[in-house]
């Protein structure tokens, strides 16, 4: 019964999205007002049917209704309710259903937000959104049907992948990733609309940027949450491995970041419109490529879902989207003529171009490294991996260059700068660069790349702080306002986008520096301990106190109790553990992390034998890792500040 209702909701979504896409395209071609009203109704109905289908699945998961195939596959009476809800996206069919929820919600909200605006673009945009929606509804109706009836009904199910049950972050990372990935459909539709109408006016660049920035924010948070999860759960002490699927999430982030910058230049100077649109289309295409990579079984990764007919179907969609994008660009890009010019001299404009160049280079580097092993295997039949050395060698100089650019660009004035202006802008931040590099050197940093990252980081942080401070100072001088008044006026009322952008820059600078420091300055030790024995890592002394066996409803755990002290002072007991889930042969370790302001003490059980009391322990001191998480929160905050509509927008 439940399964049949679910199937019908999916069919309804497929029907309204297909009809809606056709109606929207006809509306766009004929400029009909009645057509636009119907387009909107169909878009809302699509959103509602997807929301209802997901609500039904969540209900079935909570009720343990094993007559629904997806519940029979991932549900279990043994798991707590939060795991049951999270199971919605833990497996292939459910993840596509959840995709449907997110695309439905985005299409509904984006249609509603623009119901009275941009009448010449919006029907085209909605047509593209609903066409994408129709594809995912088709996947759910056919190859990825989560609502098949199971008969006879099994008494219990296997439960979701235990890695998903192991940490609460796994409940948060995937939704953010979907909000980021799926959300790129919206700017894709808007960019397609600009190409279809052959116009990209100043008024339309605002919504394009806003709807690009929203999923960009989610994607930024999702990528870092994924790293955080790996760090807290997988137990090897790192947060990024250049795994194909991690790369899949990074690729659209890189092009989206480039697009945000080039859109800013388009908005201010009326240039690079075709290029901005190209980057937006590429971002969407890369999200579909990423989706294909996780769901086709072509790439071997911790993230892979099982192989199925879904892979080829997504590949077909990718090819269609690629063909659509290339054809549209080739036919229409020349109509998006520049209204201005970029000064061919050193200034902020030209550095935007360098920014775009670096991001695109970064994208190609990662794309090549990800796909190259496939090429080799297809041609020579050898399994190979490009692995970390390639990525690190390429990503470190690019990341460091972007860090410097984040300082130099904003320091320079727009347009053409005189040599005196250039000196005045670029010399003072050298103080910040020297200070941070000297601080690093004093604390023992010797690696050249780490020192360079620190110097560039100091430079950029000083420029960013100055740019955050300047509008305040100006208002205080001009209007005699108090600091608080000036902060509210300059920061939140008038210059919100500016404030937000520089907060994002500040966060990004800290993230890059923290990555440089944490990946080069850590210490690690592996030790074999019996109860009562000690080992040391950094300036910590670790004493293996006891082994405990803990029984929880859905898992058994062997827990090592390790007492930590530094310089004779007791810091408490850390409990890294091995979890044994029901019906899983391999136990899964959960590390224990003690975070302080500047470093984490990270303990991970490699192996533990409760009978003999022997523990193989991996102990690490990871400096500044916590800064990555905190600075990402700052980036998210900054982009939220920039996203809140300003007075000018609400008047429109």
């Amino acid at each position: 019964m439940t399964a049949a209702i679910g199937r019908n909701l999916v069919l309804l979504a497929l029907l309204v999205s297909t009809v809606g896409a056709v109606v929207a395209a006809a509306t766009a071609a004929r400029r009909s007002a009645a057509g636009w009203a119907w387009t909107r109704r169909l878009a809302y109905l699509f959103a509602l049917s997807m929301i209802a289908a997901n609500g039904l699945m969540v209900w079935a998961l909570l009720a343990r209704d094993f007559s629904v195939s997806y519940v029979a596959q991932v549900g279990s009476r043994a798991v707590p309710d939060w795991v049951a809800v999270v199971s919605l996206w833990s497996s292939l069919e459910g993840s596509i259903l959840f995709w449907g929820l997110v695309i439905g919600a985005y299409v509904g909200v984006a249609t509603w937000a623009n119901r009275d605006r941009h009448p010449e673009y919006m029907p085209w945009a909605v047509a593209v959104w609903l066409a994408c929606g129709a594809f995912f509804a088709f996947l759910l109706a056919g190859p990825a049907q989560p609502f098949q009836s199971v008969s006879p009904v099994p008494a219990d199910g296997a439960g979701p992948n235990p890695l998903l049950q192991n940490h609460l972050l796994m409940a948060i990372h995937p939704p953010f990733l979907y909000l980021g990935f799926v959300g790129m459909t919206i700017p894709f539709g808007l960019a397609s609309a600009a190409l279809l109408t052959g116009r990209l006016g100043h008024d339309f660049l605002r919504p394009l940027r806003t709807w690009l920035m929203l999923p960009w924010t989610f994607l930024t948070v999702a990528i870092v949450l994924g790293g955080w999860w790996a760090y807290e759960v997988l137990g090897w002490g790192g947060y990024w491995a250049w795994d194909p699927v991690e790369n899949a999430s990074l690729l659209p982030w890189l092009t989206a970041t480039a697009a945000l910058h080039s859109a800013l230049l388009s908005e201010r100077k009326g240039v690079l419109k075709g290029w901005t649109v190209t980057l937006v289309l590429a971002t969407f295409l890369l999200t579909i490529l990423g989706t294909f990579m996780t769901r086709s079984g072509v790439f071997n990764s911790v993230h892979s879902f099982t192989q199925s007919a879904i892979g080829p179907t997504i590949l077909v969609f990718l090819v269609l989207a690629l063909a659509w994008s290339i054809a549209l660009l080739a036919l229409r890009i020349d109509r998006l003529a520049a209204e201005g010019t970029i000064e061919p001299a050193l200034g902020r404009d030209s550095l935007f171009l360098v920014n775009n160049l670096l991001f695109v280079l970064f994208t190609f580097t990662v794309l090549l490294g990800t796909v190259f092993p496939l090429l080799v295997e297809a041609l020579r039949g050898v399994q190979m991996s490009v692995g970390r050395p390639y990525f690190d060698r390429m990503a470190v100089p690019l990341g460091v260059a972007l860090l410097l650019l984040m300082g130099v660009g904003p320091a320079l004035p727009w347009g053409r700068a005189t040599p005196a202006q250039v000196r005045q802008a670029l010399v003072p931040p050298l103080v910040g660069a020297a200070l941070l590099a000297a601080l690093g050197a004093a604390l023992g940093v010797r690696r050249p790349w780490t020192l360079v990252a620190l110097a560039f980081g100091g430079y950029t942080v000083q420029v960013t702080l100055r740019e955050l401070w300047l509008p305040l100072a100006r208002r205080r001088r001009a209007h005699g306002e108090s600091l608080g008044q000036a902060l509210v006026e300059a920061g939140f009322v008038r210059g919100r986008r500016r404030l937000g952008s520089y907060l994002v820059h500040a966060g990004a600078a800290v993230v890059i520096v923290a990555i440089a420091v944490s990946s080069t300055m850590g210490e690690s030790r592996e030790a074999q301990l019996r109860v009562g024995e000690k080992t040391e890592v950094g300036d910590y002394t670790l004493t293996f106190v006891a082994v405990d066996q803990v029984s929880e409803p859905h898992r058994e755990a062997v827990v090592a109790r390790v007492a930590v002290s530094r310089a004779g002072r007791e810091l408490g007991v850390l409990s890294p553990r091995m979890n044994q889930y029901e019906r899983q042969r391999e136990p899964i370790g959960t590390p224990a992390v003690r975070s302080s302001l500047f470093e984490d003490l990270y303990l991970s059980v490699m192996n533990i034998d409760p009978a003999s009391g022997q523990l193989d322990l991996l102990a690490m001191v990871n400096p500044m890792v916590g800064w990555i998480w905190a600075a990402t929160a700052l980036m998210a905050l900054g982009s939220l500040v920039a996203l809140v509509p300003s007075r000018a927008d609400t008047r429109l």
Partner: protein
């Protein structure tokens, strides 16, 4: 149409450079992805196929003497690793039971229980029916000896005790028949 200050701009109908660059980037990518589509990086062919099956001595669920592989020589043997928590196992169960019944004396069928509780299996077999012994595999030793990745996996052993074929995932009627032939079952 041309206004003051705006350059005369005549759009070409098709920007060939954009088209060529786009195709040059995209075509190789699509080609590589397509070539790799059929591949499954998780599947590793069993080195056991063609060799003697690892012997075992396992207790049947419903009591009685332990079953050894050696005692089954002389007929093709189908060994199905399964569990009640596995949905594909559930799907293939009816086919296995009916085939086992219809082949009766010409082939032997054995189920090996993989990581599951005995009550669960008893309840399942009482509801769904059974036609051949299900063996208890303490510590999954036999599953490890056969190199099981996940369930269901089914091995087809010929009359001489060699592994003739292996099937990963739920069986359908055609592959069951084809693999039984490989194990030497007369048509």
């Amino acid at each position: 149409m041309s206004e003051a200050g705006v350059r005369e701009h005549k759009p070409r109908p098709l920007n060939q450079r954009v088209l060529l660059v786009g195709l040059a980037v995209v075509a190789p990518l699509v080609a590589v992805l397509t070539m790799n589509l059929g591949r499954n990086p998780h599947v590793i062919g069993s080195p056991l196929v063609g060799r003697a099956a690892p012997d075992f001595s396992l207790r049947p669920l419903d009591g009685g003497e332990p079953v050894t592989l050696a005692s089954l020589r002389g007929r093709p043997v189908v060994i199905n690793f399964w569990a009640t928590w596995c949905v594909p196992c559930f799907q293939e169960h009816a086919l296995l039971v009916s085939t086992a019944r219809s082949l009766a004396e010409r082939a032997r069928f054995i189920g090996v229980i993989y990581e599951d509780s005995e009550e669960q299996v008893r309840g399942f077999l009482a509801r769904q029916g059974s036609a051949y012994p299900s063996l208890v595999d303490p510590g999954s030793r036999t599953a490890i000896a056969f190199g099981i990745f996940g369930v269901p996996e089914t091995f087809f052993i010929d009359a001489e005790g060699r592994i003739a074929a292996k099937h990963v995932g739920p069986l359908d009627a055609q592959s069951l028949e084809a693999k039984l032939r490989q194990a030497g079952l007369a048509p």
